[in-house]
């Protein structure tokens, strides 16, 4: 006859141990027996705004903060007057760095800006050859948002041409519109919820500056495994 315990799956066993363990209540940290929570069970966002690093209310303040953060992170940020200027700026970078090939994904901004570069393109839509992308000089992507508070770029597998495009080539160029600037991290998460709701992309990533490491004597080195350069072209 089968032992009853052996019929239980590991899932059932672990959950049973968890439930058994939680029979005894634990004190709320820092509450010293007076168990009143300062965080409402439903949402941390409104309160978190009062504690996280401050962000100004106006667009100008937020833009200035993003620029300051990007500079500290050693990302290049160019604020451009129009879509055409953005296109020119991209052509200039491609010429200066003598790109031979770049990778990108279909999209309104990426198609427009990369149309006349006159270089071979590795496109991610419909699948791509990894070796080919690895050999590209740059990856050009759109994004979901720019976060003023941290100087981050928010990308997803859907908005930025998959998972590898924004990390595999040595130079990541992000194309963005001014309206995509959001104040802070809570706003970025609210945007994700609103935009994707029940059907999230399989990857969501906050990119905060070019890839870096400090694993050798805690000295900052850029381009550990991901891009050595991050350029943000915004109009």
């Amino acid at each position: 006859m089968k032992n009853e315990a052996s019929v239980l799956t590991e899932r059932e066993k672990i959950l049973a141990r968890v439930r058994e363990a939680l029979q005894a209540p634990a004190q709320v940290p820092g509450a010293h027996g007076d168990a009143t929570l300062v965080v409402p069970r439903q949402s941390t966002t409104p309160a978190a705004r009062q504690w996280l690093p401050k962000v100004g209310d106006s667009f100008a303040e937020q833009l200035a903060l993003f620029q300051k953060n990007a500079a500290e992170l050693k990302a290049e940020f160019q604020l451009l007057a129009s879509r055409d200027e953005m296109k020119n700026a991209l052509a200039k970078i491609a010429a200066n760095e003598s790109w031979k090939k770049f990778a990108t994904h279909p999209g309104e901004l990426t198609d427009f800006a990369s149309a006349n570069l006159g270089l071979p393109i590795c496109r991610t839509d419909g699948g791509y050859d990894v070796q080919e992308m690895e050999a590209c000089d740059a990856g050009i992507t759109a994004c979901d948002a720019l976060v003023a508070q941290t100087g981050s770029v928010l990308v997803t597998s859907r908005s930025a041409g998959g998972r590898a495009l924004s990390v595999l080539p040595p130079h990541h160029v992000v194309l963005a519109r001014r309206e995509q600037l959001v104040a802070d991290l809570p706003a970025a998460f609210a945007l994700l919820q609103k935009k994707y709701a029940s059907d999230f992309p399989s990857m969501i990533s906050f990119i905060t500056g070019p890839s870096r490491t400090g694993d050798i004597e805690r000295i900052l080195v850029l381009g550990a495994h991901g891009p050595k350069k991050l350029t943000l072209l915004c109009f």
């Binding site: 590991e10 672990i14 959950l15 058994e20 363990a21 939680l22 005894a24 209540p25 634990a26 709320v28 940290p29 820092g30 929570l37 300062v38 965080v39 949402s43 941390t44 966002t45 309160a47 978190a48 009062q50 504690w51 996280l52 690093p53 994904h105 839509d125 699948g127 791509y128 990894v130 508070q149 597998s157 859907r158 998972r163 990390v167 595999l168 991290l185 970025a188 998460f189 919820q193 999230f200 992309p201 399989s202 990857m203 969501i204 990533s205 906050f206 905060t208 500056g209 070019p210 890839s211 870096r212 490491t213 400090g214 694993d215 050798i216 805690r218 381009g223 550990a224 495994h225 991901g226």
Partner: protein
């Protein structure tokens, strides 16, 4: 005394006398303290944020069954295969099963302390697989065949010269000892591995119940590549990693970065909610998530110390700890070192074997103050001491306290004992620091204060 305790004391003695080691650690951590304090200062209220983070983790851990079920059902709904492992051996076996199914030959790994805890690398290597650590610090430690020195900074105890020699010896490629050039050596060596590995393995920093996602925090982009290129992705995480809501990350990501490395946000903070979805152009065809218990439910059952499961593995308590800074990470001989390691290792690996770590503490409380989720670390060290003594009373210690209590309750005996003590102390002076000295542990490295000419009591009674 357990063999682990004997080794700890022996190694601690060596390390505390190693001035070169202490200088390296002091330099690294002084720089960390400067940037961390700057980042903390940028918060409008770091203290309120800590309280909120502590309560959010309390909410998650104290309703762990509900949040785990929610997390798993959301993940499974989008095609992720979820596995449960009660022990480390089971976790390794699940991964080996995936390896066999996929006929995999190589695994690229991003940093995961949980995989260190279950000794995954040796299990995979025993099965004949090539396993490559992709985080630079972990890569260095793998080449040295040593466990990570620190849970966030695995190779912080090494100098660039040592790393240059290592790369020269193991890779035949080390143009100079410049950190920039050394990093590029590792970049070149590992690039090929991402492109050819059959399985990408990662840990996780958070598990989001609301949306069924894992969140990975890193700086190098190695986890991003590990999760992008191989056909199969496997992530191992402890069951305590759960957070209730996606938006909780708006608080936890900057706090983890601030406490962990002194950054406002680390370079890549990435959430994965499944394998490649319809319409996506890349990403793994299969995504496996393994939830590990490995004694966590035993710690959960200890309501007094349950908050130790709130830990987000930022390493801030290690950095603040005077013991860690002097004895170094390897002396602990545990996966998790420093104050949090001293608190949880007795639960993970046995109280009597590991109780000595709770005595290696100045009880200064620096760890508790540094903890971004307010774990009551230094009190838990006391709780471990108490529990160890209750479970297995030390006969000799008890006897001494009994004798002391007996004498202290009887003024006649007390005054005789005091007089004997005054006579005894000069004798003790003769054998000071030697094997005959009963106070050897103290007097070996410290001076006793000189004996006053008369006792306070004698002086007081004369004065009247």
């Amino acid at each position: 005394m357990s063999a682990f305790a004997t080794d700890f004391l022996k190694q601690a003695r060596v390390m505390t006398a190693d001035l070169r080691h202490r200088k390296i650690i002091r330099t690294a951590l002084t720089n960390y303290e400067i940037v961390r304090d700057k980042r903390k200062g940028a918060f409008q209220s770091w203290e309120s944020a800590r309280q909120a983070a502590a309560e959010t983790k309390w909410e998650a851990v104290n309703h762990l069954d509900q949040y785990l079920v929610e997390f798993v059902s959301k993940l499974e709904a989008r095609g992720t295969k979820v596995h449960w492992a009660s022990t480390g051996a089971q976790a390794s076996e699940i991964i080996l099963q995936i390896v066999r199914e996929k006929k995999a030959r190589s695994v690229i790994k991003s940093k995961s302390m949980t995989s260190e805890e279950v000794h995954l690398n040796s299990a995979l290597e025993k099965a004949g697989l090539e396993v490559v650590e992709s985080d630079l610090g972990e890569f260095i430690m793998q080449l040295r065949d040593e466990p990570p020195y620190h849970i966030v900074f695995p190779s912080m105890h090494l100098t660039r010269g040592e790393i240059k020699e290592l790369f020269q010896r193991e890779l035949g490629d080390a143009p100079s000892d410049d950190p920039q050039e050394l990093t590029m050596v590792a970049r070149r060596a590992l690039r090929k591995k991402y492109l050819t590995a059959d399985i990408g393995f990662t840990g996780a920093n958070f598990a989001i119940a609301e949306t069924g996602m894992i969140s990975i925090t890193e700086n190098e982009g190695n986890a991003r590549l590990t999760a992008a290129l191989p056909k199969t992705m496997v992530s191992l995480l402890g069951i305590e990693k759960v957070l209730p809501r996606l938006e909780d990350l708006a608080l936890f990501l900057p706090m983890l970065a601030t406490a962990g490395t002194g950054q406002a946000l680390t370079c890549y903070n990435t959430m994965y909610g499944g394998p490649r979805q319809p319409g996506e152009c890349d990403g793994p065809e299969e995504f496996h998530v393994i939830l590990l218990d490995n004694h966590r439910t035993e710690l959960l059952a200890d309501a007094e110390q349950r908050d130790a499961l709130h830990c987000i593995r930022c390493g801030a308590c290690l950095n603040a700890c005077p013991i860690f800074r002097n004895v170094g990470g390897h002396t602990y001989a545990t996966t998790y070192s420093g104050p949090i390691g001293s608190v949880i290792t007795p639960h993970l690996r046995g109280l009597q074997d590991w109780k000595h770590l709770s005595n290696a503490s100045s009880l200064c409380g620096g760890c508790t103050e540094a903890c971004p989720v307010k774990i009551d670390l230094h009190h838990h060290l006391l709780h471990n001491r108490r529990n160890a003594a209750t479970e297995k009373p030390a006969f000799f210690e008890r006897l001494i306290y009994k004798i002391f209590a007996f004498a202290a309750n009887r003024p006649g005996i007390w005054s005789v004992a005091k007089k004997l003590g005054r006579l005894g102390l000069p004798l003790q002076n003769l054998v000071k620091g030697t094997a005959l000295d009963p106070a050897k542990a103290w007097t070996q490295t410290r001076e006793l204060p000189p004996m006053p000419k008369e006792s306070f009591k004698d002086w007081w009674s004369k004065r009247k």
